[in-house]
Amino acid sequence: MSPERRQFLAWGAAAAAGSALAPGLRLVELAQARSPEEAASKLQRWGLLIDVTKCGGCDDCVTACHAENGVSGHGRPETDAQWIRKLSIRDKRTGYAQTLPLMCQHCEHPPCVDVCPTGASFKRDDGIVLVDKHTCIGCRYCVLACPYGARSFIHEAVSGQKADVPRGKGTVESCTLCVHRVDRGETPACVEACNRDGGKAMAFGDLNDASSAIHRRLKGEASSQIRADLALNTGVRYQGL
């Protein structure tokens, strides 16, 4: 099926579902439904919108991420893997303090992909930036290239991995936007935890889908990218920074 035809059918299905259900809810679900036999598509671009004004002092997103992906440390913060972390920022002049989660920003033009000598660091068609650990040689160029410090190197042998999240010594890893969950039609673990237990500051969706809640919010409200000066067009956007 050609992409145009597929998009046309998706619109038709969206219109059909629109008459039955409340708006917003159904459209996100439709956009996410993808069978295991259907490849990730350029028509979609997954992203996050994080409202920093709602982000409180908890670290539920970090806990949920590391539990979902089986990321465990050795009690050595300098070398332990971090897929997501909480940053605290403070205006020195006024003393205004904020806290926000920072993870891989899933750039449209990712520097980590530019520098990778083996092609292991790559961007999937739906905009998710990943490391193919089968071809990663552990050179760590991407760790240096990423302006967000989002990549971690695994220094020590790993055991007890999750079946959907293979991790191994000598490779680089970072936030995958919970790609295994997204492929099942679910939202990333951090977003789920934030909306369940935290401040409801995180939203996930398809930035390209004009009918998705995240698209509408980005169109209607002010948002910013971290280090927008680098013109990487990040998939993770912030509000209230």
């Binding site: 990730a40 790559f122 739906d126 042998a157 991995q161 999750k162 079946a163 191994g168 010594k169 295994h180």
Partner: protein, 129 residues
């Protein structure tokens, strides 16, 4: 001349037969692989094709899943582990593990389980109470 050649051939074949007999009598230096099929009636392909080509199937599926997000269950490593993990240890590795016993016999190193888990996953209902 022909007679000498025939005699040499006969002697050689006798020697070969004797050697084969001796080999059968002597205990093998490497333990034969233990192949226990734990679950399911049939694999995704006949056994001889699986023995010869399972690595090609896994390599093909690996790139499709990683690069294109195609998570077809048919040739997935998760699927292999799901059926072939030992009932006792829950793993495809170990002394009588489905993967490791053959790979040890053939002296071929497997890299899969440096990153992937060799353990069968608990059923979804048990994982999420």
């Amino acid at each position: 001349m022909m007679r000498i050649a025939a005699a040499v051939l006969a002697a050689a074949s006798l020697a070969l037969a004797a050697a084969a007999g001796a080999q059968q009598a002597r205990p093998a230096r490497v333990a034969a692989p233990v192949i226990k099929i734990e679950k399911g009636e049939a694999c995704v392909a006949p056994a001889d094709e699986m023995r010869r080509n399972h690595m090609k199937m896994l390599l093909h599926q690996r790139d499709r899943t990683m690069r294109q997000g195609l998570r077809e269950p048919r040739h997935s490593l998760k699927g292999c582990v799901e059926c072939h993990a030992s009932r006792d240890t829950g793993s495809v590795l170990g002394k009588e593990g489905f993967c490791s016993s053959c790979h040890e016999y053939a002296a071929v190193k497997i890299d899969c389980f440096q990153c992937h888990t060799p353990l069968r996953q608990a059923p979804a209902a048990a994982r999420r109470p």
